[in-house]
Amino acid sequence: MSEKVLMKGNEALAESAMRAGCRFFFGYPITPQTELAAYMSKNMHKVGGVYLQAESEISAINMVYGASAAGARVMTSSSSPGISLKSEGISYMAGADLPGVIVNVQRGGPGLGSIQPSQSDYWQATRAMGHGDFHVIVYAPSTVQEMADYIYEAFDVADKYRTPVMILADGMLGQMMEPVVLPEPKTSLPEKPWACDGHKNAREHNIANSLYLTAEDLNRLNFERFERYETIKQNEQRADLYLVDDADIVLVAFGASARIAKSAVNAARAIGIKAGLIRPITLWPFPCDCIKQASLHAKAFLCVEMNMGQMVDDVRLCVAGSKPVSFFGRTGGVIPAPLEVLDCIKSLNEGGR
């Protein structure tokens, strides 16, 4: 195992991606994500890879499409407004069943918003990461260590299911520093018989394409892809449960908000309130099973997010009306304070909403 080092979240994403075999990075600078690209620009050439700053986000994502079609491990990264620009390309990748990793270090929105942390792209990441019927797998790390761990895994998962995978981080996680143990560099990568990497007249040529002019063909393909999504839902749901078994008040929070929620849970326990935390690690597929399970004993749920209330929709779908689900959020770069969350827990424990 390698030694612990201090890294920013953005740097950990970059280093771990290279260790996962990523050899192509195409991006365009934007705060608070820039350290990721800066780290790649310094280090990608040392492992024989290509770092390229494209002329725009739209170019960058289409370069990702091309490298992925040729069978490479490839990624791009940006922050909220830049991700919106990439969304067309992500849809094309999904339509062509191309794997790739997209990092969103979220900042405040809508529009140019702010450069401070936010989680207001949850709906975009889980519902509409572009036009058309498709999903991307979304990981929501909450520590610098998880930034390293989940991007490392994201490349394997992307190849396994031939789908774009998103790491949904936020400015806080991108900028903060924590001790991290980096994974070992991968020495073997999966074969990609579908890649357009030169057939040498030895096989049929492969095509990476998302255009289908025959209605029946596209219809069939979409149904097939959604069968794959069902497999992903069964296999890839991830969540971390903290003091949930006996909890009356179950908090649900992801990413940096989960760190705040955990502090609030500890404070609540210290004054005798049975609070617990479910921290979704995959946002799509959403870890519905553990939330349903918790709804059997919980009195109430409380979602804590850095947005106006987005994941709370998914929690309500899982709880299906059996228990009240409240929401506490802050936006624009304002970060919920553990004490504010504690006040919500107290009020719910006393039967309030």
Partner: protein, 253 residues
């Protein structure tokens, strides 16, 4: 006894430089607060125009409570975080004040040669006034784990600014997970850099939470196990030990 880095030498301008994320801002905050405690007139300039978060400008309230003058970039701190790097004219005023012996000026410079670029515009004034240039190092920070790279980085900062380091601050730590061993394991690294650069180690920082830890060390001479408190041990083993408080925090700490 007053720590050497807090003692007033002839120079009243201190530049705090180093690799990104070695802990320059947290060190700067500790130093200005300790200086202010001694009743000195202190000014802190946040010269970091690279980093959007976790910067001196975020500690305006804490500093103003201690009567420390803070000069922030035009767009930084609690009011705005616009991504436009620019410094206020007050920086020059602060340098003049320090040159006239009326304040102790600490400049928290941005990381690497890139961050230090913002300093270049003030170099003639700083040279005229006289300065200390602390090169802050951290063995556990990626990019500065080995002495060769760390020395190279200093050279890049020196070439960029035309200023020369006057001493080394060994700020090796692992944030909240720092143990006595982390500090002790960093001593040879700091020595190596000190020898390569011919610069003195002005301070070896350690987190103040280690002071009350009970630790055991084996006496190599007679094999006896001694139990002491962290403060005692660290003060004996370290070159110019300097306890630092963790002031730069995440919202859930």
């Amino acid at each position: 006894m007053k720590h050497p880095i807090l003692q007033t030498s002839g120079e009243r301008i201190t530049l705090i430089c180093g690799h990104y994320g070695v802990g320059k801002t947290n060190l700067a905050l500790n130093v200005v607060l300790d200086m202010a405690k001694e009743g000195k007139d202190v000014t802190l300039v946040d010269m970091d125009v690279v980093n959007p978060y976790f910067r001196s400008s975020d500690y305006e309230a804490l500093l103003s409570e201690a009567h420390i003058r803070l000069v922030t970039p035009v767009f930084a701190g609690s009011n705005t975080s616009l991504d436009v790097p620019s410094q206020k004219s007050e920086v020059m005023g602060a340098i003049e004040l320090a040159a006239a012996g009326k304040t102790h000026l600490i400049i928290d410079v941005g990381g690497d040669d890139v961050g230090a670029t913002a300093l270049c515009r003030y170099v003639p004034m700083i040279e005229d006034a006289g300065y200390e240039f602390w090169y802050v190092i951290n063995r556990y920070r990626i990019g500065s784990e080995n002495p060769e790279d760390t020395v190279e980085l200093l050279r890049e900062i020196e070439v960029r600014t035309g200023l020369h380091a006057t001493g080394i601050i060994n700020n090796s730590h692992m944030m909240g997970e720092t143990t006595e061993d982390h500090i002790i394991d960093s001593l040879a690294y700091a020595d190596d850099i000190s020898v390569q650069t011919n610069l003195p180690i002005l301070a070896t920082c350690y987190p103040d939470f280690l002071e009350n830890n009970e630790i055991t060390i084996e006496n190599r001479m007679d094999g006896r196990i001694n139990t002491t408190f962290g403060r005692e041990t660290l003060q004996t083993l370290l070159v110019n030990p300097y306890p630092v408080h963790k002031l730069v925090k995440t919202p859930w700490e």
